[in-house]
Amino acid sequence: MATLFGRVFSGSDEMYRLAQEALDDVSKRFADSEPVAFPDTAYYLACIYAMSGKKITNLGELKEIMEWIKSQMTRNNKTHDIFTSGVATACAAEVIEACKYIGNPDPYGHDPLWGHCTDAEVRELGVPLVTGDIPGFVVFIGSAPTDEQALALVKSYQSKSVFVFMVGGIIDQVKRLGMKTGFNVRVVPLGYDLWSVSHVVSVAIRAALIFGAVQPGDYDGIRRYTFDRVNAVINAFAPVDDMTVACGAGAISLGFPVVTNETENMWRVPKSLIIQEDVDKFVETSLEARGIKIKITNIDIPVAFANAFEGEIIRRGDMQFEADGSRVDCLELVRTREASEVEDHKIEVIGPDFDEFEVGSKISMATIVDVAGKKMQSDFEPVFERKFHAYLNCIEGVMHTGQRDMIRIRVSKDTYEAGFRAKHFGEVLYAKIKSEFDVVVDKCQVTIVTDPAKVSELRKEANEIYDKRDERLLSLTDENVNEFYTCIMCQSFSPSHVCIVTPERLGLCGAVSWLDAKATHELDPSGPCQVVEKTGVIDEEIGKWDSVNDAVRKYSQGALEVVSLYSIMEDPMTSCGCFECICGIEPFSNGVVIVNREHAGLTPLGMSFSEMASMTGGGVQTPGFMGHGKHFIASKKFMKAEGGVQRIVWMPKALKDQVAEKLNATAQELYGIENFTDMIADETVTDDAEALVEFLTEKGHPALSLDPLM
């Protein structure tokens, strides 16, 4: 029985022999001084030049290089031998092709066969490859089982903007069905002979030389570049001979997987050599194998999609139907799945479609988005889910509010009349999630369920997931994570301010939680949220770490040196201008007052929110005063260094009501105090410092007996 090693070695020997024959043949007609070159390239015979560093300019040099090629075809039965032999096979193929160009600048005629691609063509292809406008390229080798299948495959790639190169029988297959080919339509027939594949290897290699500035002869550098940056994949049709196997080995060594329907004498190598017996599935298998992501440019729905529709209100009279989570079962859910469980761009509607509902009806609707991706984390699910609101609102004639199982969606009559149906919600969500979160989402499918019984069942499942997420949020503490994040989104207003976002301390604007910061970082690695490894603890009690100080120093451009995350007295975190709340120490009660932005009146400090804000903002450390988010009030880390939330003596009533539940729970847990918020004064009690102390004394507020704040 043959082995993969055996087939590669025999194939490369065969190619070498053919190269030798070709050389012998041209040597009969030309002298060693005869020039050898492909037209319009500065990279000589690019495969040979890149791999060996040798510049071939004439027939004599071409003959000499054969020895080097032979030296690359090592035979130690190690994986390495397969790779070097594979690459050497491509070099041998290039020798055969070069022979064709001796004394003939255009042996292929470009009608339709292309042969060598010029440097200009490489650049023309390379730029959109780098930008992602061309997400990758595919090389077909051989003939598809039928002409129709060949055409369907090529068209499918073409519709996804994947550049197509063809070698062998497939060229005539698509030609017979009238397909136009050429560089301009991004479908290029290279040649009928297998060795014409060297022209596309040359393209990939020149991309590394031109775009990656890799030096010729730097074999590893080339491989690294093609592996990391050139999204190519090979589709080889059965029957696959030894020479094709050898070429495939070369492709794999450059990082390009080979997908084939050959099963005889073929071996599966994960991520590299993939057997897909169903030729019709070549495209999906290939894209997944190489991790090629298709840019989504338009959303296929019958109405407009734009930010301008975000603020539309659909009145009852204009409404075709609504999904109202307060009356019937509705929900929205993002689930992380294995890649094998998700079929990309599948949109399924379960239950009646919109045209089966009476005008004005209240329907049950569940919108479930399943995503898969190598970098996907379940922590991102709520981040995506929260975006549904903005996405769906941008559809003309659709109004969306709420999240999870408390949503309301209205669709206008006009939009319905225009042909808007359930699957179009799927199209919008698919397109937006794939394009905005392309870094982490490889595949995405959407299911819209309108069958009330099914939605009801799904709601139970969803509620379990929501609960789990909430538990996870509650269980996230500063102690049990390994990294915090910076956030410098507002530095344009507040140049030296840096937020350090931790699980128990969200950004002071209230809009960036630790999970948000984490997701922002994953999605935009060079963006405003950067990882701060929690290392070099100085004092965990007041929240000082070396790494935090380093980050603050770095991202404030040196304006700040030291920050303690849990103290408002010692090096407190700075504030930008956009904090939700500000707290400041109230010396007579030994506590702090907190005031939120919405509160216009004075505090017992004799200052209003805006006065306190003007003293605290701008990224300057102001001991005794600090901006923060509303959710931070109930955190166990809220001025932990000074004794925690029991220092809170005054808050506006509205704010107090808002945070009461969580704050009371924290006070109960930390100090065993019941209904702590009853002890906290507000503007209905007093905004005078003296009266405040009287009130607190009356209530037995714990702050009065704590250590002096200063």
């Binding site: 200009a120 650049r123 390379g126 730029v127 959109p128 780098v130 930008t131 992602g132 406008d133 031109i210 775009f211 990656g212 500035a213 410098i488 530095q491 344009s492 140049p495 060079s526 963006g527 405003p528 770095k554 451009q557 040196g558």
Partner: protein
């Protein structure tokens, strides 16, 4: 006690970037002191002044500017004339007419004009587009191809276009690439990082961190440039150590101080003098804030600003 002079030199420096080829090639950047502080340490490469030649500017040009270019039929004619101005180190071709919402001059026509200029003068070339992302990407790609080997600078790649422009101008054709962000140090930094990740070499990147005319939110420009410089030199932030080039003329010649007619604003006096002073005041301020090169339009502005620079070196 005598005065203790403490020169403020930094161990970090701005990365020098070379533009153009041959005798007339220029280098911008390289300094390790704050802008124009030549008394702290010598500034090897003095800030440079370039002349802007826009393909639409003569339509609205004031009298003396029009007179200066009298008889010029093409951008190449204008470039030849402009290249003789003392103090000019490079030429900036500004293809405003390429705007698809305007005259929509084709990229190929622009490239032909640029090619003609490069044959007519030997000063380094800077290419500015029309602010339409798609059109500029096409124009920058084609002009980088046509002028291979001339070491031109395309101004500029933006967040939306950096891949296309960086890949073509910076990688495929080995030209210099501008990185344009809008008056925010973190946006500037992020774009530099992205361009570098794309593979564009650091010494091929010149920043345009945004500009405004004096009086028009110019404080953001000053603070952005000053912070970029302090981060680059003081914090040794290598992602911000690229030199800065600021297209001043493109901003200043559009504000009402520079264009309101004398009939409309009799007490304001000569419109051309107003335009020149707006250009000179803005250019001086961006140089003082951290620009290594400015692009100006009026010969009188160029004379004054280049003289000021040489006085300060």
């Amino acid at each position: 006690m005598p005065f203790k002079n403490k020169p403020q030199t930094f161990s970090a420096a701005i990365k020098p970037v070379e533009l153009g080829t041959g005798d007339k090639a220029i280098t911008i950047g390289g300094e390790n002191v704050l802008p124009l502080y030549s008394f702290d340490a010598p500034i090897e490469n003095a800030p440079k002044v370039g002349v802007e030649i826009s393909d639409t500017m003569l339509e609205t040009a004031p009298a003396r500017l029009k007179e200066f270019y009298a008889g010029c039929e093409t951008m190449a004619d204008m470039a030849k004339k402009a290249a003789e101005l003392p103090g000019v180190s490079f030429i900036c071709l500004h293809f405003e007419s390429a705007d698809p919402n305007g005259a929509d001059t084709s990229a190929d026509d622009c490239v032909a004009a640029a090619k003609a200029v490069s044959e007519a003068v030997d000063l380094p070339l800077v290419i500015m587009g029309c602010k339409n992302n798609e059109k500029d990407s096409e124009l920058f790609n084609k002009v980088s191809d046509a002028l291979q080997g001339k070491n031109i600078l395309v101004l500029a790649a933006k967040e939306e276009t950096y891949k296309a422009v960086g890949a073509s101008a910076g990688l495929a054709f080995n030209q210099k690439v501008g990185a344009e962000s809008s008056v925010d140090i973190n946006l500037a930094k992020q774009l530099n990082v992205l361009m570098t990740q794309l593979g564009v070499k650091q010494d091929s990147i010149v920043m345009n961190v945004g500009n405004a005319a004096a009086g028009y939110g110019f404080e953001y420009v000053v603070s952005t440039m000053e912070r970029v410089r302090l981060a680059a030199l003081g914090q040794n932030d290598t992602t911000l150590q690229m030199p800065i080039m600021t297209p001043v003329a493109a901003e200043t010649w559009g504000v009402k101080e520079a264009i309101a007619s004398e009939a409309d604003m009799p007490e304001w006096g000569d419109v051309e003098e107003r335009g020149v002073d707006m250009e000179v005041v803005t250019a001086t301020a961006v140089l003082a804030a951290g620009s290594d090169a400015v692009i100006l339009r009026h010969p009188e502005s160029i004379a004054t600003v280049s003289k000021l620079i040489s006085e300060l070196m």
